[in-house]
Amino acid sequence: MKSRKFAKIRSAAIRYLLLTAGTVIFALPMVYMISTSLRPNGALYEWPPRFFPKPGAITFENFEYILDQKKFLINFLNSVFVSVCTVGLAAFVSSALAFVIGRFRSRATKLLFAFIIITMIIPGTTMIIPQFTLAKRFGLIDKIWGLIPFYVAWVIPFSTFMIKGFMENIPDEIVEAAWIDGASVFKVYTRVAMPLAAPAIASVSIFNFLTAWEEYPWAVTVLSKSEELRTLPIAIAGFNNQYGNVQWGYLFALSVLCMIPVVIIFILCQKFFIQGLTAGGVKG
């Protein structure tokens, strides 16, 4: 009996040890990013490199530089605008799709769903060329809002897939009761289905926010004109000059500022997040 207890404690100790070691190694790059953003910009090419800034040499000058420039504020607001609009529109259109597909089973809706899912196999970036010619024809190039329809279209398959599961699980009696009361399709959707699927819509929205917030390849392809017509990822990548000296201090200061909303949302909504993730993966 005693040896069994000992074995249990030992196994737990090993688990905690491995997890702590792994987690520390995992966190190193992010810690290094923050520590670099707190060093004077000129000290970044010093040898030997330091992991932590010299005590007493911690400075916020990189952040002051970034916050002083109006263009970065505009870039930030651009990102907020695009992400919020994407999230809102995607929540509306995909929950409507999911409602119809999940509650009105027929051959047509099944086929439609299969078709939407199959497109997920094609990596988004492969479509960048026809999307570019389309954007050009519609005059969506060099316009911040021009990103939104592409982002919404991009997140529709995943969002619909996630919300559909919830729509299907709404108990039949509830929907039936609404039908018998003479409710229209719209009413059932807005009064019954939407509120009941709210948790799924919330978790999908977090994913969609992150997708739009960090999207780079498409944004940099269609927004090239001026520095004020940029989203945050483009502004950050803009420091990554292939030839000259990269201003690492500024770069990481802006990166830290860009990460703050993400980390806040992630930590606050951790539960929704995990729920959303696992709903897709475990079913199979």
């Binding site: 995992f26 799709l97 196999i121 060329i129 529709i156 995990i274 199979g284």
Partner: protein, 295 residues
Amino acid sequence: MITRSRMNRAQIIALLAPGLIVFGLFTVYPIIRLFMMSFCGIKLETMFVQPFCGLDNYVHVFSDPTFGTSFVNSIVYTAVTVPAQMALGLFIAILLNGIRRFSVTFRVINYLPVVTSWVIASLVFKYVFQTEGLLNYFLRTVIKVIPKNVKWLNERWGGMTVAMILGTWKGIGWNMVIFLAALQQVPKDLYEAADIDGCGAWKKFTHVTLPAIRGTILFAMVELTIGGFNVFTSIQMITGGKPADQTQTLLTWMYKNAFSLDHDIGYAAALSFVMAFTLGLLAVVQFRMMRSRDV
């Protein structure tokens, strides 16, 4: 389902319409266009003139040596990062599954790389792996395992290694969450039965855990393979395809052809389609492989 009146039908269509219009116009239509473009000789400037040129673009793709390089790079990237992140993610999930306290803390920290943007994460790794950077300093001066600084970023496999380490680092958290959820659904009595049969930890893992989470493994494998071929931003940020296009992957090479070399959209479209086709094929093979083990 009860009333199929005309009004309800109209409302159903009204609900479907916005989503289908956006999806059709901005996703489905581009896919069809992509396919059509791959049979045309189009340059970016002459976008609307599309003389049909048959399989020329495809012939061009398969005879282009840089396509070969980027294809191999993409395959290697996927073949390394997919198993690596799955194995490490599953390992962490198994560790987490056996503890009570701090489980959420570990989970949150390990998941942070996933929510970090590709642009930021790539640039952090680029900074760490510079020739005069922190990692070389650590390897050369602190633990003394290399005689001189490695030029990670100026060499094909050096650059690919950095991208692969980044890809693995960034993906482990997702696998951890997916596998943790799967592990929590494995019936406890299976383990008890294995205990009674006198199975050791490894046997329990191979005979109970792995078969029980097979569906999740397949799901992760298919998703991650698509993700592996989708590698783009990290390569652009870390090496930009240098030196001499040695570190191009399928998508970065496609992008370069379409937007900066000679704007050969037809070629780039054919390349995209070859890639989409490869992925479709891989997905089918992966499904077959997992299915066949059922029997």
